[in-house]
Symmetry: C2
Subunit: 379 residues, 2 copies
């Protein structure tokens, strides 16, 4: 029997911006928060009840940390799974479950899971050696992805021809057919231990090509209902097949033929859900808490059109961060700034985000463009 939420100790592996925004929400429920992160200046440091500087990939550190909590969650997948398995055996609640994190940590296993569960995804094959890559049944050009530890565009490269393989990753990889997509979309789905499932409305993402990071996110999507419903059904099917407790972000492509293909999963709050803080009745962080404490799920409907911009460190600037243009952008109505408490900036580092809420979608996009030009993180 789980304790009351207001009586519980929540352990969070990782103390970055996702943990920070989760903690902002935990404050409303009197939760005691414990955070483990290797960076002694992590964004969560000053707002957690207890902050421990240590490795989230080391068995002993994670195990000992987890023993102090009632419920353990993550804000990043690269954590020590064996320690979480042991904690589960000893009766701790770990959400998402260690087996879900293990599956998602490995993009190869993730793709096989899609295949086995009839989840639409781009054709792929696993590749352990240069030889495999050279003789793949997927023809050049293709995408080569490291099976582990890739994030924010790292661990992914396009292979146009055999010549490109000279610089290819040495680790275990996944080869994927290049998807000729029209739009990248995401659906965040949540599931509590009772098995209640809810999706947030589908959102559209625009990437910064140079940084390979989400730059703009528009919620809700204006794709036809049947496409949005299909995307939401896929997300629900994945959550059901995984039997996950907690949030699951499902990133997908809409192809030029109108097909939907699943790209990848994140079993936690995600960049594609930041706009829910102001744009939806429940935020992804509130929903994650409701899920892992087995409470009724919140109302995921949009309140308004919302556009989210990631605030990335400006190119050519490295050092203590300052924020240029803040006063100007706060002069616009419906603008919400979220800085992540990072002292140092570097090119393309995620330093914060801004959400724009406006009943008029075009007006929201226009404001977002202005903010992108106006607000700069420099050193």
């Amino acid at each position: 029997m789980a304790k009351q939420i207001s009586d519980s100790k929540l352990g969070i592996l990782g103390g970055g911006q996702l943990g920070r925004m989760l903690i902002q929400e935990t404050i409303n429920y009197n939760l005691t928060t414990l955070v483990l992160d290797p960076d002694s200046d992590a964004p969560c440091k000053h707002i957690a009840n207890y902050f421990e500087c240590g490795s989230i990939t080391d068995y002993d550190t994670v195990y000992k940390f987890g023993k102090k909590a009632d419920v353990i969650t993550i804000e990043i997948e690269k954590v020590n799974i064996e320690a979480l398995e042991q904690l589960e055996k000893e009766g701790k609640l770990v959400f998402p479950q260690s087996r879900v994190i293990r599956l998602i940590q490995d993009k190869g296993v993730q793709k096989q899971f899609f295949k086995e569960n009839d989840i639409p995804t781009a054709p792929f094959q696993l590749a352990n050696t240069k030889e495999d890559m050279l003789h793949s049944h997927i023809p050049f050009p293709y995408m080569l992805k490291q099976r582990r530890d890739g994030y924010d565009g790292k661990g992914v490269m396009r292979i146009n021809s055999a010549a490109d393989l000279d610089d290819a990753f040495e680790s275990h990889c996944l080869i994927e057919e290049i998807v000729d997509f029209e739009k990248e979309i995401a659906v965040i789905v949540s599931r509590n231990s009772n098995g209640d499932v809810k999706t947030f409305p589908m959102v559209e993402m625009e990437f910064n090509a140079e940084a390979n990071l989400v730059e703009f996110l528009i919620s809700p999507s204006t794709y036809p209902d049947h496409i949005q419903e299909r995307a939401e059904t896929i997300a629900k099917n994945i959550a059901g097949a995984l039997n996950v407790t907690g949030l699951l972000a499902v990133e997908m492509f809409i192809t030029r033929d109108g097909d939907i293909l699943v790209n990848e999963l994140a079993p936690r709050p995600h960049n594609s859900g930041h706009q829910t803080i102001e744009g939806n009745y429940v935020s992804q962080f509130g929903q994650h808490l409701r899920s892992i404490f087995n409470l009724p799920l919140g109302d995921t409907r949009s309140i308004s059109n919302a556009v989210m911009i990631n605030l990335l460190g400006e190119k050519g600037h490295e050092g203590v961060a300052t924020y240029q243009g803040m006063e100007k952008i706060l002069g616009l109505d419906g603008v919400y700034v979220h800085l992540y408490g990072k002292k140092y900036t570097k090119p393309f580092r995620k330093m914060g985000h801004v959400t724009i809420v406006d009943q008029n979608r075009e007006a929201a996009i226009e404001k977002a463009n202005y903010i992108k030009e106006t607000l700069k993180v420099i050193s």
Copy 2:
């Protein structure tokens, strides 16, 4: 020249729920927060960057604490004014200004200020002795209020006849004509150092007669526009006459004749503005930060009808708090729980609040009634 908000240290005198909700908002701006409170378990303790357990009425303690901050604000008026004056002399930014706090700390001076500035308020007179109370030019029955340190209904009594004066306050008091009011209302106004002024929409309050505390708050009001505009104009006039920087909550009565009379002021975030967190485009806490850092003021419009319920400690329960009915009320859409991080409950202690947001005003009120019956703070 003030520093950038993201580079600043904000000192907060008082570490209760108002400070706690203010800190939740400061996190979005990377503000460094310092809190001084005499309670070593104050609600702000774990979420402030720096928490100091000490007296907010002691000159040395407040002065030394204030020296560490760039900007100093309050979440309660009962603070050491002389220390704040000295800090102002030394160039610290203190908002609200010490002279505003000094004026508002004394309900007698506050009433004289209303009179001098043609702010409508109930007839009154000052009374220092029992003799003054007996021979007041305001006839029995009247309200007797302590000039200092009253809050949440404390320091206020109704005097029906000379006999009641046996138990009257011994301190300096204010005698006030009893107002035959139809409704208690409030308008929160904010003003930055540039002199920009904005009001939040007028709200209606329902009091718990036994506890003399706000129990229900309904936003926005459904009074006719001309009444709402008058209330907002009064609030703006007071903010202008005070030349205040920061938030100012103006509590008023609407009499049965349709007149508006100002009851009292609070120069800080206030219980009558909690529903702005979810119900308005900018929250009172966000607006207070914008005001004291001289940023453009946010959009105060209502997003939706909102009803706020104070979650008071249940009668007959004293001890470690538990929250009964939480799961049930989280099953309703548009319900936002804010617990204040107080370990111990006692009858009528403010333990948290719940805001209900609904496009339909009647539905919001109905949910509020259900929540009032369902969610209980017990020991």
